[in-house]
């Protein structure tokens, strides 16, 4: 039978794994969608590509960026949830205590510093950046094609 300390230790390890897993999944999704976007963007400028293909790829690209934004939102909510669970397990900061004397990972001033924007939200800006790139690339391609046609 597990005692209270062992139970807490197991819970902490399990929750930390969930937290790490969720963060890794978030990064992996961002990496994957970045690669997909970067791979599909040159199709807009390819001289052999037909206009229908360009429009199709553009629509899919923008749709992916919209999907990416919502996926990021949901994932961040889950990351925050695991983080909050971990923070609950850690010892509370008492009013009379010197913060540096108790070891904490998911609470405390140092951890809060690492969560401050804009660093933490940089990944969430990627879908907007790519959506802008898609629109800009399509507009540039359309103008350059119209100039080429006599």
């Amino acid at each position: 039978m597990l005692n209270e300390d062992q139970r807490m230790q197991m819970m902490y390890t399990g929750l930390a794994n969930c937290y790490i897993g969720e963060r890794n999944l978030n990064r992996l999704t961002s990496q994957l969608l970045t690669v997909v976007n970067l791979a599909a963007l040159p199709i807009l400028t390819a001289s052999q590509a037909s206009m229908t293909l360009r429009y199709f790829v553009f629509t899919i690209g923008v749709l992916l960026c919209v999907f990416w934004f919502f996926v990021n939102q949901r994932m961040r909510a889950r990351i925050n949830y695991w983080q909050r669970c971990l923070a609950k397990i850690e010892p509370k900061v008492e009013a009379h205590e010197i913060p540096s004397t108790v070891f904490r990972v998911f609470t405390g001033a140092d951890f809060e510093k690492s969560l401050r924007p804009p660093r933490i939200y940089a990944v969430n800006l990627l879908p907007w950046m790519f959506a802008f790139l898609w629109v800009a690339m399509l507009v540039i391609t359309l103008f350059s094609l119209e100039r080429r046609v006599p």
């Binding site: 923008v62 919209v66 934004f69 919502f70 939102q73 909510a77 925050n80 909050r84 809060e112 969430n124």
Partner: protein, 95 residues
Amino acid sequence: MKWSEECKQEVREIILGGIAFGVLGVISLAAAVVLFFVETKIHWAVAAILSVIFLAAAGWAFFVEYPIDKDRQRCALEEEAKEEAGRQRKHTSGS
């Protein structure tokens, strides 16, 4: 950062996202209407598809994501109020 503040940040972000999608949707819808009457090419159809995507995204942000985030924020505030009340009770009984 408190949990309720994180939730507040999420709510703010989804509102901003929804507004941005809505603005983009309206712009592309206007572009589709203009292109439909000005040009005979396929451009207007692309602008129309784009406006559908952006307006659907704005709708999703405001009618699906926003209530979820708002509810989470309410739960966070309730939980923090309970914790604060417990702390106060402990403090007063201790002194």
